[in-house]
Amino acid sequence: MLAKSFKRFAIAPLLVALASCATAPEEKVSLLEQVKSRGELKCGISGGLPGFSSLTPQGAYTGLDVDICRAVAAAALGDADNVAYTPLTAAQRFTALSSGEIDLLSRNTTQTLSRDAGGGNGLTFAPVVFYDGQGVLVRRDSGVTTLEDLAGETFCSKAGTTTERNLNDVMQARGIPFEPLNFDQDQDRNQAYTEGRCAAMTADRSSLNSARSGFAAPDDHMILDEVLSKEPLAPATADGDARWGDAVRWVVYGLMAAEELGITQSNIDARVAAATDGEEQENAALRRFLGIEGDLGSKLGLPNDFVVQAVGAVGNYGEIYDRHLGPDTPTFIPRGLNASFTEGGLHYAPPFN
């Protein structure tokens, strides 16, 4: 929230512009080789976003974004703990990548054209790890399940954000009348909602979720399944280093493919054993995926069993999601678009061939 206000900070566009001038596209060793010879992955995270990255009382970072760093470290270095985390604000994150202060940005960053393009921030995005989007929070006992049920009701939102506009667009397009009520501060908006001044509250689903967890009775409220805007959050690397970008991309795909194939942190050793000389040894695709056969990993510059390393360290994508955003956590967000395509979601890993 505070970090967002820095977007308007006058110096930020200047810094970004200067940053893109200062990075000379020289012939250099891929970050993948640098990471391997350094023995440590430098990962940029938010450091304070519930469910994505935060500190445990033991001083360790944890969260979905953090597990992506850990998976890449496990795949490239064989040890998920060899990660140096750098907490970054929204204003800092792209400069940190281009100056080489971090190797990988895993910090709830929305993938957009101008961030991807060389004329913009010049990033290379890995696959989306969390499809966020604007959601709607309502009281469970109100019986509301769709936006149509909220016709004529009051919506609390934050003034001057895209949230307000998105809501207007969607409601107008679907011909649903509503009453907007805007606030300058998150906390005022939350309070107005809990005091019953509005029937629904709208914001990004992940932020609705952490707001709800702070309520006195979080279970009395639920987030509707409908999503009003696209906020695909993806890890990113610096442009001009295809080798490193590919490695990161396929580690993330590996986590998703493992979920499709039912490979989990707990059964991975058994599956590897079965594919090596057990009942699955005829399954060539699985053997390639696990690195028992072929050289998929080394084509990327990673060990052939990089998926085994990554999943063994942090679990498959579904397990990561459940650990930080699943039903047993205070930050529960229904999987929705974040399910595997086999379950009707959007996570779809291309073939490991």
Partner: protein, 347 residues
């Protein structure tokens, strides 16, 4: 215990004073009652919240993070020993001058300068200790380290700048005036942004400058400009006749500065210099928005923990208390130094 004979009239005097001060007229009485109800009500609901409603687990369970940052558990003793040394030094400095032997008194300024390198040795590496990367530093320990580093860099730099601004060499005078005016014309957050974001881009390939060092450098250069003006104020308070007297005694210009001008100028400037020191402690909290996990930054990360959602008020009140305690310590140290300078000045 036997009551002293004077306690009777004295308590009556107190009652009288209360009546005269608070209940002199009906209007006074109304104002007193309304204010008392407002203050009492506010205090009561605050205390009610503090003791009955607030959930202090977010502070208690993370106390190690607030004090030492992400330092590994088996290395925490290094942070403790530095904080212990710092605390002892504060206590010794605060002791009445008469209780300390002269050599200790003489050594005190040196010890205050040495405490920073000692801290770096203890916290980073050296002395055969396992090296700890600076990204594990955090919490109160990092805030204090940043403040001390800033002060120890800004104070000498500020004095030099103030002297240079009054120098008879025009180029030197213009340069320092320009530096001071430009720095004072910039907001601190812009300077810090520059330090954290731009310096890494300008460094040659493969060079990296530690984030903490970058923070201290930008804070130090910034605060030095303000301290320079404080010292210059002190220098201007010295009557010209003193300089003439120094010259007629045959003191060289350098001797005049060290023996005549600076001791008096610093004494005059001390209250404002102390003010700058307290302000630089507060300024370190801006670094939370540049990704350093000092006291405020680590609190952001702790508040991100799903187990402590919505516990902002508890954390910020705790932070306010911590910052206030350190500030109180700093101001009493400054008062102590002021008093000892005055004593030596009069005798």
């Amino acid at each position: 215990m036997a009551e002293s004979p004077r306690s009777g009239p004295r308590s009556r005097q107190l009652l009288l004073r209360i009546r005269r001060g608070l209940f002199a007229s009906p209007l006074d009485t109304v104002i007193t009652v309304v204010l008392a109800v407002l203050c009492g009500g506010g205090l009561w609901s605050f205390l009610h919240w503090v003791f009955l409603q607030a959930d202090w687990a977010v502070v208690v369970e993370n106390i190690r993070l607030y004090i030492h940052g992400r330092l590994p558990v088996d290395q925490v003793w290094r942070s403790w020993s530095w904080l212990g040394l710092l605390g002892t030094l504060c206590l010794v400095t605060l002791m009445p001058a008469g209780m300390l032997p002269r050599p200790v008194l003489r050594l005190l300024p040196l010890l205050w300068i040495l405490i920073l390198p000692i801290g770096l040795l203890l916290l980073a590496s050296g002395l055969g200790l396992e090296p700890v990367k600076s990204r594990f530093w955090g919490g109160l320990q990092l805030s204090l380290l940043l403040t001390l580093g800033t002060i120890l860099m800004a104070l000498p730099l500020g004095i030099l700048l103030a002297l240079a601004r009054r120098s008879s060499l025009p180029l030197l005078r213009w340069l320092t005036t320009g530096y001071i005016e430009i720095t004072r014309g910039m907001p601190l957050i812009a300077v810090l942004f520059f330090g954290q974001l731009m310096i890494p881009l300008f460094l040659p390939e493969g060079w990296t400058l530690n984030r903490v060092l970058r923070a201290v450098l930008s804070l130090g250069f910034f605060v030095a400009a303000y301290m320079a003006e404080d010292v210059r104020g002190g220098l201007q308070a010295i009557p010209r006749t003193q300089l003439e007297a120094a010259r007629s005694l045959g003191l060289s210009p350098l001797q005049t500065i060290i023996l005549v001008e600076l001791p008096q100028a610093l004494r005059t400037a001390l209250p404002s210099l102390a003010n700058q020191c307290v302000a630089s402690l507060q300024s370190t909290s801006l670094l939370a928005y540049l990704g350093l996990i000092e006291l405020l930054g680590i609190s952001r990360s702790i508040l991100g923990n799903p187990d402590y959602l919505g516990r902002h008020l508890e954390v910020y009140i705790w932070l306010a208390l911590l910052y206030w305690l350190v500030c109180i310590l700093m101001t009493s140290l400054a008062r102590r130094v002021e008093r000892s300078l005055n004593v030596t000045g009069h005798h």
